[in-house]
Every structure is written in structure tokens, then in C-alpha cells.
């Protein structure tokens, strides 16, 4: 194609090439500096916590219960898992069923939309407000006392929206044709749910569960006034406080003895390792899906 361009090529002016390139270079450099700075800060937090935890850990800490100033943290380790397990028990069934409702085209669209809006908004409720609610309603009015059930429910309120959203997304990743075929062959909703949705979304659900568990394991504010604390193991589901690792970190570092600081460091190390470990596994299996 012959060009009809008749103007003088030299007329095209590249304005301020120098200063534009300079700006780009500055932005380039600055962005690397900032990224590098953040990576260094992240690594330094990790290394500091891991180092100070590892250098003070003893076997007795890990195999005896204690009160954040003396003894060990076994009651807190056990309690953390009990609470998280309880939270999962309360939040997983509603998440799976609720996600089924939202992805199921049968429901009218507005209701699904409203349900999803509330799910989103629930993630923004400050955790201490959930804790306050748990204290007022569960601990006092329903007379559960500081207990595993109250703490588990408080955690479940926080885990529920995360689980529901992630499970919903993994349901949506299932090919639509497969579901339509099943319905065309006469399957009802229950068998579509149990034979297609659940098995197909297994990996995505597992990744969501790990993420929700990792978030719950690092929570403190909801638990302070719902699970309370226990210098020993919880003796029942109700009216018996539960210990948890984040409490040891908080209380231990505020308590003026060296040993209590050691307990706080060791708890922080266990927390950071298990939480980031679970996040990493969750991302890994989530990506493979």
C-alpha cells in the first residue's frame, strides 16, 4: 500500500523524550525499591518470629498445659484445634448448602443476589463486634458460659462467608453442560448435588476449608469473651473455658517475666508456621484445580 503521507517526517516532534524516559526510570526504580522493602520487611518478621520461637522452644512447653506464665502451651495448642474444628463444624454445612442455593439457577435471581451481598458484608464486621455479640448472646443470654460451643460459633460467623464464597466459586467452575445433562436425564437436585457438585468441587472446597481454618486459627478478638481461657484442657462443650495460642501470644508478651515472653514467642512461631503453611497448601491445590 502506497502511503499518501506527504508531510515531512522530521516534523513529527517527540516532545520531552528525555524527561518522559526519566520519569519512567524513576518509577521503575522506585517500584523495585518499594517491592524490595516490603519483601525485606516480610522476611524480617518471619525470620524474627521463627528465630525467637525456635531458640526458646523446649519439649516441656509442648507437652504440658500452662497459664501463659508458667508451664507449657499444650492446652492452647489443643484448644486452638478444638475451637477451629468446632467453627468448621458449624460453618461448613451451611456454606455448602447455601452455596448450592446460590448457584442453583432455580432460585430467583434477586434472592441469590441479596444472600451474596449479606455474605460479603458479613466479612467486614469487625471481629471484636462478633466477639461482643457472642458474649452478650451466647455466653450470657443462652448461658453457655465461656465455652467451646460459644467460641466455635463465634469463629463460625467469621468463617462462614469465606467458605461460602470459595465453595460457590468452585461450584461455578463445574462445566454447565454436565449439570444440564444430569437434569435432562431426570436427576433431582439431591443427586445432582451429591453426584456432581460435591465430588467435582472437592479440591476447591478443600482449598477453601484450609483458608478458612488458617484465618480462624489466627483470630483472637472473637475468642477473648466467648472461649475465655483455661489453664488446663476444656472439660466439656459448655461452661468450660478453652485455651488458644493467640491468647498466649497476647497475654504472654504483656506479662513481665522472661519465661512468659518465651511462651509467647513459641506460640507465635507455631501460629505463623501453621497459618502460612495452610495458606500455601490451599493456594497450591487451588491452583492445580
Amino acid at each position: 500500500m502506497t502511503s499518501s503521507y506527504t508531510g515531512n517526517r522530521q516534523e513529527i516532534q517527540w516532545k520531552n523524550v528525555g524527561s518522559r524516559k526519566l520519569k519512567d526510570t524513576i518509577a521503575n526504580g522506585l517500584s523495585y525499591v518499594v517491592l524490595g522493602m516490603m519483601v525485606v520487611i516480610l522476611l524480617s518478621i518471619f525470620i524474627y518470629i521463627l528465630d525467637s520461637g525456635a531458640s526458646h522452644i523446649t519439649l516441656t512447653m509442648l507437652i504440658t498445659p500452662g497459664n501463659t506464665a508458667t508451664g507449657g502451651i499444650l492446652n492452647a495448642i489443643v484448644g486452638t484445634w478444638e475451637l477451629v474444628g468446632m467453627g468448621l463444624l458449624f460453618s461448613l454445612p451451611p456454606s455448602v448448602l447455601g452455596a448450592l442455593y446460590v448457584v442453583n439457577g432455580r432460585s430467583n435471581g434477586t434472592l441469590s443476589l441479596v444472600a451474596r451481598l449479606f455474605t460479603d458484608v458479613l466479612t467486614s464486621v469487625p471481629s471484636i463486634v462478633i466477639g461482643l455479640f457472642a458474649f452478650i448472646v451466647l455466653v450470657q443470654r443462652l448461658d453457655m458460659g465461656y465455652s467451646l460451643i460459644a467460641g466455635g460459633l463465634a469463629l463460625a460467623v467469621m468463617m462462614l462467608p469465606y467458605l461460602m464464597r470459595i465453595i460457590e466459586i468452585s461450584f461455578r467452575n463445574i462445566p454447565k453442560e454436565q449439570i444440564e445433562n444430569a437434569y435432562a436425564l431426570g436427576a433431582d437436585d439431591i443427586s445432582v448435588a451429591s453426584r456432581i457438585y460435591l465430588p467435582q468441587a472437592k479440591v476447591g472446597m478443600l482449598s477453601g476449608i484450609l483458608l478458612a481454618v488458617s484465618i480462624a486459627a489466627g483470630e483472637t478478638a472473637q475468642l477473648l469473651y466467648s472461649a475465655g481461657w483455661n489453664n488446663n484442657y476444656a472439660t466439656g462443650f459448655l461452661h468450660s473455658g478453652v485455651g488458644y495460642l493467640t491468647y498466649v501470644v497476647w497475654n504472654g508478651i504483656n506479662y513481665p517475666t522472661t519465661y512468659s515472653h518465651y511462651l509467647a514467642f513459641v506460640s507465635a512461631m507455631i501460629l505463623i508456621l501453621s497459618v502460612t503453611g495452610m495458606i500455601a497448601i490451599s493456594k497450591y491445590i487451588g491452583r492445580r484445580q
Binding site: A115, V137, A221, K283
Partner: protein, 325 residues
């Protein structure tokens, strides 16, 4: 079979509204618990800053028809100021950092390690807040107290608020820094996602017109990704407003003393609820509990509003660019 199917469907519906029920009951019950406070304090709850639990071992007195410990008075201003100032500082720190990180991973960084880098930044969100608090107390506060704040007081004292006595590292600056670490991953991932959703042709077109990478980034942020950028920042703000434990540990958790400068200890609404609830339980009139519930209501209202607006704006983000220009 039809009937079981119907029951099953109804069950899924019931479970889908569990979050809505939870949200509404949290608001209703916490608000209900706060009712005595509104009668007791009225508007002065919003206009004063003194927080006094009263003499809980004396005979309770009746004020405005409500039983309360003598000498009790409740005003949220100090906590509100702390919540707003720490969150504002966190955003001031977090936004430029998130913006530059986004530019870096989207335009400058080799594409192969982009995902890894974003995941790494997201790890900041995975660190439990008590661990941030611990690190803040042991590492950050001494650095601020010994080096950073004295330097600022000496060299930046012409800036209002940066002149004053330094008592400890705990306070507004430490809280703002820690909070910014917690929200950088949120803001960054929202902006990165919106950059990813820009059609490839737009970026390529800009480059072929001779735009530098910085100009492409600047253009995309102010056009295609503008809504996501604002929305993501608001989502981060919503998170910062409600953060409890880390701020409780590094803010100094002061009551009744208004901050004199940026170096003073502060307190936030969330941290105040966590730290004052224990002693509020010894109040037989439950007025202290009502006051904390009122703090909770205000905190929830603010943080839900901010997050909702953020979500609304960020949700529109991907459409924005096609309407404009």
C-alpha cells in the same frame, strides 16, 4: 422423591440466608444491649472524650431513669479519633506502596515471577494480628522510640503534630504502620486484578503509540482501574477500622488523655472494646457493658458503610473503562 427434593431445596435456601440472619442478629442484639447507654448519655456520647467506668462498689445512682454507677461517664471521641487517625495513616502508607507494587508486578517485573510475588505480598494478610502485635512491641516500637521519632521530632518539627515529647514507641505511628502491613495485600490484590482485566489491546495500543510503562500505568490507573483502585482502598480502610488485637498491643491503649502529638499513645474503638470489656463485667448495673456495646454499634456502622461503598465501587470497576473514554 418430589417431597424430599423440595425439603432439600428449602434447606439450601435456609442455609443461604444464614449469613443474613447472622449479620442482622449481630446488629440487633448488640444495639439492644447498648440501649441503656443512649438514655444515660444521649448525644454527649458523641461529643465528649472522657470514659469513666464510675465507682462500681458504691450504691448505683439513677440518671435519666437508668441505673448507673456513680461518676460514670462515657464519650467516644478519643476512640473515634484514634480509629480514624490510625486508619487514615495506614491508608496514607499503604496506598502508594500498593500502587507501586502493582505497577511493578504488572509492568516492570518479568512475567514469570509475577504470581509468586503477588502471593508473597498476600502472605502479609496471613500473619495473625497478635503476631503483628508481638513484632510491633518487641521490634518496631524500640526502633520508633530510639531512632525514627527522635529524628522526626528534630528535623520535621515544623510540621504540625510532629513536635512534641516522645514517651514510647507505642501510639499512632506504630499502629498506622502495622495496620498498613495488614491492608497492603488487600489493596494490592484488588488493583492487580483490575489491571489484569484490562483488555490486552489497550495496553498494546498504548505501547505502540510510544507510551512509556509509567505512562501506561498512570493512564490505566486513572481510567480503567480507577474504580477498583478507589474501591480496593476503601476495602482496606474497612479492614483497618475494625482491626483489634494488633492495634490494642501497639497503640498504648490510653483512655481519657487526648493525644498531644503524633507520638502520643492512642486508642481505637475496637481496641477499647477488647481491653475494657473485662472490667465492664464487674459493673452490676451493666451500664459499662452498654457503653461498650454502643461503641460496637458505631464501629460496625462505620466499617460496614465504608466496606459497602468500597465493594460497590470496586464491583463496577471492570465496566467503567468501557463506558468512559
Amino acid at each position: 422423591m418430589k417431597a424430599t427434593n423440595r425439603i432439600f431445596n428449602f434447606l439450601t435456601f435456609l442455609m443461604a440466608i444464614v449469613p443474613a440472619v447472622a449479620l442482622i442478629s449481630i446488629f440487633v442484639f448488640v444495639f439492644q444491649e447498648s440501649l441503656p447507654l443512649w438514655k444515660f448519655s444521649g448525644l454527649s456520647f458523641f461529643t465528649t472524650y472522657l470514659w469513666n467506668p464510675g465507682f462500681q462498689y458504691q450504691q448505683p445512682i439513677i440518671v435519666h431513669g437508668i441505673l448507673a454507677p456513680p461518676g460514670a461517664q462515657f464519650g467516644l471521641d478519643l476512640f473515634l479519633l484514634g480509629t480514624l487517625s490510625t486508619s487514615a495513616l495506614a491508608i496514607l502508607i499503604a496506598f502508594p506502596i500498593s500502587f507501586l507494587i502493582t505497577l511493578n508486578v504488572e509492568l516492570y517485573l518479568p512475567a514469570g515471577i509475577k504470581k509468586f510475588t503477588v502471593s508473597m505480598i498476600e502472605l502479609f494478610a496471613g500473619i495473625p494480628s497478635v503476631v503483628y502485635g508481638l513484632w510491633g512491641i518487641i521490634v518496631l516500637e524500640p526502633i520508633l522510640f530510639r531512632s525514627v521519632e527522635p529524628w522526626m521530632a528534630q528535623h520535621l518539627s515544623f510540621v504540625p503534630g510532629l513536635k512534641g515529647e516522645i514517651y514510647s514507641g507505642a501510639g499512632l505511628i506504630a499502629s498506622g504502620i502495622i495496620l498498613s502491613f495488614m491492608i497492603i495485600p488487600i489493596v494490592t490484590s484488588v488493583i492487580v486484578n483490575s489491571f489484569d482485566s484490562v483488555p490486552k489491546e489497550v495496553k498494546e495500543g498504548l505501547f505502540s503509540l510510544g507510551a512509556t510503562k509509567w505512562e501506561v500505568g498512570k493512564y490505566l490507573t486513572t481510567s480503567y482501574s480507577r474504580a477498583s483502585t478507589v474501591g480496593g482502598t476503601l476495602l482496606g480502610l474497612g479492614r483497618a477500622l475494625g482491626e483489634t488485637m494488633a492495634v490494642l498491643m501497639v497503640s498504648g491503649a490510653v483512655t481519657n488523655i487526648l493525644p498531644a502529638s503524633f507520638y502520643s499513645a492512642t486508642n481505637t474503638m475496637a481496641a477499647a472494646i477488647a481491653s475494657l470489656l473485662d472490667s465492664a463485667l464487674t459493673d452490676s448495673t451493666r451500664m459499662n457493658l452498654a457503653a461498650l456495646a454502643a461503641l460496637g454499634v458505631v464501629l460496625m456502622a462505620i466499617s460496614l458503610t465504608v466496606s459497602l461503598i468500597g465493594r460497590k465501587i470496586a464491583g463496577r470497576g471492570s465496566l467503567r473503562g468501557y463506558e468512559g473514554d
